[in-house]
């Protein structure tokens, strides 16, 4: 049921006029929205079992709270079908974990966007795209679920560009940044399995992602060659920090890597071991900080793969999220750096539509 206290606007019974009204109220991300009619919002709410007034996320600095109802209104505006709503709710709950720090990652000059990675059977059930043009346009579920999160940040939490969102340049993912992990042809356990959720459960992982870095390698025929180019992207001087990483490997690259018998764990360890810069190199570009080096190397190092004189990306191999995604053809993987230069935002995961070990 909708909230009794929800504010209702009476507008002319004209769809285009209603769209214009939403613009006039400042409720959009710059693109037209679906007017959040009472009927559509109520349909959205049918997919959440908890009362409408349930708070699913709260802003630590301003105290603004996102209820199930407010999330539903914004999901309608984004163009979500009602069956997408549990994914939006789970993503919000993941973002609400203190370790994710959605205030910082949204407000910062760093300009990140919450990347949502959906893993498990629900991705196919919702007809999400995990295949060709993975990060591109054309799929309603991917596009609108990611957009719903942005509209909630704008409308509920008032993370307004230029006011409380001070991104220096932002990134296109701030319109929508949502993908599905590809299960078809995937030789490795899915992310949801890595998370140890029960069989049949799907998950969403949120990651405060900076800009998208394409990793092209059509000539590499060994895991070391392919992953060497990924590691080089991860360690570029513009990106290297102690922060986490998201790596989406193209199926063509996965075939090379898994075909040689490598597991996902080996992939992470190799990437971590190779994604580093030397202390002198970091000094040469003015990015060396002793406290970061000490944090990584203290007490024998946060990982046995860390070498003296080197600054690695992240603290351990588990700081690297590795999933497969994209079309069959093309040696194009990608690396997405975390907004955080260290531990200010840590990726979070939640099961979708179910409560596991809840209080």
């Amino acid at each position: 049921m909708p909230l009794d206290s929800a504010r209702i606007h009476d507008v002319p019974d004209d769809l285009l006029a209603a769209i214009d009204y939403c613009y006039e109220q400042g409720w959009t991300d710059g693109l037209p929205v679906v007017p959040p009619s009472v009927e559509r919002v109520e349909q959205m709410l049918q997919y959440e079992g908890r009362p409408s007034e349930t708070v699913v996320a709260a802003h630590p600095a301003t105290g603004f709270e996102c209820t199930v109802h407010a999330a539903a209104v914004n999901a309608v505006m984004a163009g979500c079908k009602p069956e997408y709503f549990p994914v939006v709710i789970a993503a919000l709950e993941a973002m609400n974990e203190p370790g994710f720090n959605f205030h910082g990652s949204t407000a910062s000059t760093g300009g990140s966007a919450p990347l949502m990675v959906v893993s498990g059977p629900l991705a196919d059930d919702l007809a999400m795209n995990s295949d060709v043009n993975l990060f591109g346009p054309g799929n309603r579920a991917n596009a609108t679920m990611g957009r719903a999160i942005r509209l909630i940040l704008l409308n509920v939490f008032r993370m307004i560009p230029g006011v409380s969102d001070k991104s220096t340049q932002g990134n296109p993912g701030k319109y929508s940044f949502c993908i599905a992990e590809r299960s078809r042809g995937n030789p490795w356990p899915l992310l949801v399995q890595d998370l140890d959720y029960p069989d049949g459960v799907s998950s969403v992982t949120v990651f405060a992602g900076g800009g998208f870095c394409n990793v092209e390698n059509h000539g590499g025929n060994t895991p070391e060659q392919v992953l060497g180019s990924v590691a080089d992207a991860m360690a570029n001087y513009g990106c290297i920090t102690l922060g986490q990483s998201a790596v989406v490997l193209a199926p063509e690259h996965v075939r090379v890597i898994a075909g040689a018998g490598w597991s996902k764990t080996q992939v992470k360890e190799y990437l971590f071991s190779q994604a580093y810069r030397t202390v002198d190199g970091m000094k040469s570009v003015g990015k060396y900080r002793q406290r970061e080096y000490d944090k990584q190397h203290a007490d024998g190092g946060t990982s046995p793969l860390i070498k003296d004189g080197q600054l690695h990306r992240g603290l351990t191999p588990d700081d690297i999220l590795v999933v497969m995604g994209g079309g069959d053809a093309g040696g194009h993987s990608c690396f997405i750096p975390s907004w955080s230069r260290a531990r200010s935002s840590i990726m979070q995961s939640k099961p979708i539509g179910v409560c596991i070990d809840c209080d």
Binding site: V11, A18, W27, V38, T62, G63, H69, V73, V156, R289
Partner: protein, 92 residues
């Protein structure tokens, strides 16, 4: 057509400015740094000006472990007991 408002009303919060100090002379100045590059350097230089111009005592530095999250309540409570006023600012 009836549309739901996608925004929410903010919480009632009882924020108010602290009373101004009657003088800076001889007071204890605190520093809250956010861990970013050059934050400590910038704030220490600023605190030195208070020391030179007003005879202030500089308290040990308070640090945030997360630059982009609010300072923990215990940090602020501890600082409030130990200093007369606190300066903070962004690094980078």
């Amino acid at each position: 057509m009836q549309l739901y408002d996608p925004t929410v009303t903010g919480p009632e919060r009882n924020f108010r400015r602290a009373a101004a100090l009657d003088t800076l002379d001889g007071k204890t100045v605190g520093i809250l740094e956010n861990g970013k590059l050059n934050a400590v350097e910038m704030l220490r230089e600023t605190a030195l000006l208070f020391e030179q111009r007003h005879g202030c005592t500089i308290a040990p530095i308070y640090s945030k472990t997360n630059a982009s999250a609010p300072a923990p309540a215990e940090t602020l409570e501890s600082a409030a007991k130990a200093v007369d006023f606190l300066i903070t600012g962004l690094g980078d």
